[in-house]
Amino acid sequence: MSLGWSLTEVAAHLLHHEEREVVLGDLSEAHESTWHGLLDVLGLVTRRQLQLWQNWRPWLSGFGLALPSSFLLMGASVGVSTAYQSLNGPRDIDQHLLFICQVLLLAAWSWSGGFVVGKLSRLTLWASVLLCLTPCLFCMVRFRIPSLSRASLLLFLLPAVVGALQGVRRIQISLKAGFALAVSVTALMVFMCSSGRLWFVNWSLIWPVWYIVSTAPHASREVERS
């Protein structure tokens, strides 16, 4: 298999599964040069991407969620790392409780954000990933807390990636589960706010869990239909 054909197959992954099969089949049948085939596929991918960006979903997913949330979640990640360092032994129950709340909130914010990004715009996920990782690289380069590792900025990434993969696969969240998650996150945020440990801007991280709730009834109807 030539390099050109391999690149063509990679580029075709930005198309829907069915269209990818059809296009690669057409190219095999036409016996075109692989580089012409690659240009053809890139042309189709570009047209498809432009069509996708005419919709509000990729914009909301990339600029409304991935980009701003990455800054806030990096802040929350550093908050969790700092809280972990300042734990004063097993007897300080209040601090342990606050630390657990911080960890749970970070996991819930990251997972729900990733899930909504994946669900909102599967085929433009690459753009959302780019918009999320660019601030991460920027902050890692400028990170200046000697007692913490740079990796502490990225604690949110694992749950966010899991959420994004589940969102891409359109995993169905039932209304009950979604509602329970949203209420729990809201309660945790109110608790953290009352103890002065929640930056008010972090309230903007709450909308993905409620978005999951608002779309859950539709999702269950889709399951019934299928």
């Binding site: 069915e18 099969e21 059809v22 049948e29 036409a30 053809d40 189709l44 047209r47 069509q51």
Partner: protein
């Protein structure tokens, strides 16, 4: 009214009948018009025409010459035939009297 490429695509698909699918249409268009048709232009136009109800598409069989990959088969609907006929009639009407049009007696006006 249809666009020029939409008309070419519908007419080519209608001419190919049961053998109308992406690669065959591209080859036929290149042969009859002398212009290569890109995959992007072909499939975005097919989608647009299908949305308008002028074409119907479905996934066909996979063949060894396609590396075991399926074809997207295409059929022109009755609405598509009517749209192509309307386009042809309009082009014929608008072309009457043009110097390059062969008149009814068989000679060129120019």
């Amino acid at each position: 009214m249809l666009g020029e490429f939409e008309y070419v695509l519908i007419t080519t698909a209608a001419g190919l009948g049961g053998q109308a699918y992406g690669a065959a249409i591209r080859e036929q268009i290149a042969r009859t018009t002398g212009r290569k048709c890109s995959l992007g232009a072909l499939y975005t136009t097919i989608d647009r025409l299908e949305t308008k109800g002028l074409l119907k598409t479905w996934m066909g069989d996979a063949t060894p010459q396609r590396g075991g990959r399926a074809k997207r088969m295409i059929r022109v609907t009755a609405k598509g035939v009517q749209a192509a006929k309307d386009f042809y009639d309009a082009v014929t009407r608008v072309s009457r009297g043009a110097s390059w049009v062969v008149n009814q007696t068989g000679g060129s006006a120019g």
